[in-house]
């Protein structure tokens, strides 16, 4: 168990930013922390990294308590705060050295760690530039490099890809995926594809409470009762949508049929079932029977967007 959060609460005045949440993160897991803005993601991360103290509950990182052994925890954790704050007047190498010194990396190891981080994060050409002159993508890499300079076992990244362009996002994501092979990574985001692209587990948090926790596939399966199937057929003889739909309805368990698209004899239908039975075989048989040309037949997964909206809608 890498991180163990139990019954954690944090108050800002009377408002409960985090309300009695519990979860655990295993070693080698990439956990996505997902929620609308203001849901309590940053607050939770700030508590885990010992920046804020909780009002109730406890957090253990690698078996060490954040309140009684805060110093040990801070040595084990690498943290990239929201907005990626940096000293803009320092150059990249100076900054990495400073971060390494304060993290307690031994003098002998510092040059080696700095070189490794420059390589891993692709900072080679920029290492002598002032951070203030770097583009946002490079700054993000500097932030990540500094967070990992002491080879921490746990990495906490608060919105690591915010403000980056699509190419940079892809790069940072693959960097995080690679890191996740050896480390425990917790990253927060409100961008849904990010979680699908990088994490093996997701926790959805809304108004300070956990509303879902599990692998993405499980969430998709659990939340959607029936299935949605897309069927594209070429119907000869100019039959109308109504005529086709009546024939499709002969298959049991179908709830609704709607027309997605229609162009010269080709019809794209969206078929929803009331339960999880797989009707793709029946649809295929039907097409063969009626002599329709089957162009496309696939099952649509409930998207994370939909899960997210269902869970966090107020």
């Amino acid at each position: 168990m890498s991180i163990l959060v139990s019954n954690l609460s944090k108050l800002y005045g009377d408002a409960k930013a985090v309300n009695n949440i519990s979860f655990e993160v295993h070693s080698g897991e990439i956990l996505g922390f997902l929620g609308p803005n203001g849901a309590g993601k940053t607050t939770t991360m700030r508590i885990i990294t010992c920046y804020l103290s909780p009002n109730a509950g406890s957090v253990k990182v690698e078996g060490r308590d954040i309140q009684t052994e805060s110093f040990e925890v801070r040595k084990l954790v690498g943290y990239l705060p929201e907005q990626n704050p940096l000293y803009l007047d320092m150059n990249v190498l100076e900054y990495l050295e400073y971060a390494a010194q304060l993290q307690g990396v031994t003098k002998l190891m510092i040059p080696r760690r700095m070189k490794e981080m420059v390589d891993v994060c692709g900072l080679g050409e920029m290492k002598h530039k002032d951070i203030g002159q770097l583009s946002k993508g490079y700054r993000q890499r500097v932030g990540l490099a500094a967070a990992m300079i002491h080879d921490p076992r746990v990495l906490i990244l608060d919105e690591p890809t915010s403000g980056l362009d699509p190419n940079q996002i892809v790069e940072i994501r693959s960097l995080i995926r690679n890191l996740g092979k050896q480390k425990t990574v917790v990253l927060s985001t409100h961008i849904l594809p990010e979680v699908q692209a990088t994490c093996n587990r997701v926790i959805i948090i809304s108004r300070g409470k956990i509303v879902a926790d599990g692998p993405i596939e499980d969430l998709q399966r659990n939340l959607h009762g029936g299935e949605k199937i897309i069927l594209e057929v070429e119907v000869p003889g100019g039959q109308s949508f109504e005529m086709v739909s009546v024939q499709v309805r002969s298959i049991p368990a179908i709830e609704t049929i709607s027309l997605v698209e229609e162009r010269d004899g080709v019809k794209k239908l969206s078929v929803e079932t009331s339960n999880a039975t797989d009707i793709r075989k029946d649809l295929f048989q039907l097409c063969v029977q009626k002599g329709w040309g089957l162009l496309e037949l696939h099952r649509e997964k409930t998207s994370l967007e939909e899960i997210f909206r269902q869970l966090t809608a107020h």
Binding site: Y12, R46, T49, C50, Y51, L52, S53, F71, R74, K75, V77, Y79, P81, E82, Q83, P85, L86, Y87, L88, D89, M90, E94, Y98, A99, Q101, L102, Q103, G104, A146
Partner: protein
Amino acid sequence: MKFANIKYIFQKELRSFFNSPVAYIVIVVFLVILGWFFTSNLFIANISSMRTVFEMTPFLLLFFAPAVTMRLISEEKKSGTLELLITKPVREYEIITGKFLAAWALYFLTLMPTLVYYISISVIGKLDLGPVIGGYLGLMFVGAVFLAVSVFGSSITENQVVAFIVSFLIVFGLFMLDKVLFYLPSTLASTLEYISVDYHFSNIARGVIDSRDMIYYASSVGFSLFLGTVVLQKRRWS
């Protein structure tokens, strides 16, 4: 207590003083004003003495101390780098102490060029070394108090201008205390006299190194830095 952490923070802060134009501007302004007073007084009074340096510096420090320290912590609060610093295995007092020492070192470097006055006076006339050493020691102590108070001033806000004004007001209060004693009842006056920075400075500037003055300087620096540390620790409960 890890001296290594204090050292790293000290080095970083001292370097960033000289990475920005602030240090150069403040040093130049300080030396120009001091030099002007020094040379004009020297020839009017026609006495081989460095009194002007020792009398003017505490006054200039009223502006110097808040100016060089105002960004030390408030800037880190504003840009969010304080969060980075605090989530590293570093204690709050190490942060405060390192930053204070960097400001004090900058002040020391600012005072160094005024030794030119000592050299030039001792060439033309006879200058007693004792009071000069006492005077410089005193200036370092007064500077320590003003800078420590200003570091505290910087810790309470994320706005540099507010930090400057708050620090200036406190420092000015400490400086003016023994100038208004005249108007106060005598029982209160002796206590306030003890708090006044200038009162202790005048002892040392005369060449008298008294343990009471030393205790005063050490305790007021310590107390200011302690307050700054408390302010940083309080954030956990915000």
